[in-house]
Subunit: 151 residues, 3 copies
């Protein structure tokens, strides 16, 4: 799977599918690129020592799964809180637990080198246990997979 989007709702869908597949005993590789990287950032990191443009973009982008906006009905951040509340009521696993669970079940997360370069994101700023790779890494995993999705 490719996770391109950083919208809360799409990232949820991505990890629900991933954790479901893992629970059924499948192997899952997730190539995270562009806005998707927002979802696997650590909640806080320093922007010191970077170029102005990089710092600006890092400052504007959400940091980690609890800060993502929704693709619709975001309402300046109230939307995601609302959905988190309603999902909690229905016993849907929250996003950070879904990510952790997927990692415990053996998901392979590959962060896109090029996107990290362009946006000035460093490996230590992403959650632990992920690899860095390029499009060739993705393509060789995709070629071995039965199901490929671009989210």
């Amino acid at each position: 799977m490719v996770l391109f989007s950083g919208d809360f709702d799409k990232v949820m869908a991505c990890f629900i599918i991933a954790s479901g597949a893992l629970a059924m005993g499948k192997e899952v590789s997730l190539f995270v690129t562009f806005w998707g990287l927002d979802a696997i950032k650590k909640p806080s990191f320093k922007t010191a020592g970077r170029k102005v443009l990089e710092r600006m973009i890092l400052w504007m982008r959400p940091k980690g799964p609890l800060k993502l906006g929704t693709s619709k009905m975001n309402f300046g951040g109230i939307g995601p809180r609302l959905f988190r509340y309603m999902m909690g009521k229905k016993n849907v696993e929250p996003l950070p637990s879904l990510i952790e669970m997927s990692q415990a079940l053996g998901i392979k997360i590959i962060a896109c080198q090029m996107s990290m370069d362009v946006m000035g994101i460093r490996k230590e700023e992403l959650i632990d246990g992920i690899r860095i790779g390029g499009v060739a890494t993705y393509l060789s995993a995709a070629d071995r997979s039965r199901v490929n999705l671009f989210i």
Copy 2:
């Protein structure tokens, strides 16, 4: 196929691909989740007897294929009307007929249980002839498919 989006243009693309594949004699399973559910709602349903939040969200979301907005150039609902008019001029099947045609040709539509729970949508409010299922239902269909798309 997964239909995640509820944008008029993406739902059109989804059912054009689906009906094309069905016409070529293929089997098509469509797993409808999140905003995609807007496309398979009946035009009207009552929101009485629900929690305030559920009622609020149901009231704000479009009801059925004729109420969907476009992902670009929506212009407060004029965009979809414009596109419907231009598509009609070029003899493109309108969305409700495409959905009906796909059903007549044997499409399997599975509505996502979890999304329905979270948004407070009930089975009788969706069009007839669809099933309810979870991510495991989707994954077993995806695993048997030659072509998988996330729209």
Copy 3:
């Protein structure tokens, strides 16, 4: 692959994956539909001799890869310029070269007949070396492919 989106960032992702796969010796078919057509337009073309509605839509849509907006942080067109600048700094191939390179490596680009009809786009207004086809053309290519993506 289906290229549905005309967002600069998604079109970039699409052609990075495509050119990567081509470089690895794979065959790539790209079916370009709806907003994706904006990415393969020639930079300028005349709208004379068309219906008013078609002219209006053509006038509002971006013309070619250098005019695309980003799906997030567009800021009225500053976003894409910013990203192009940052990508240039990191030696990422610009989008028009990626498209040319993919064509040199043998990508098959098929523009969606129906979308062209609806939006009033003519073959001579798209870049050279592409074919026109319908959903059946796409489906037969998809059926032969190992990896299918909807971008």
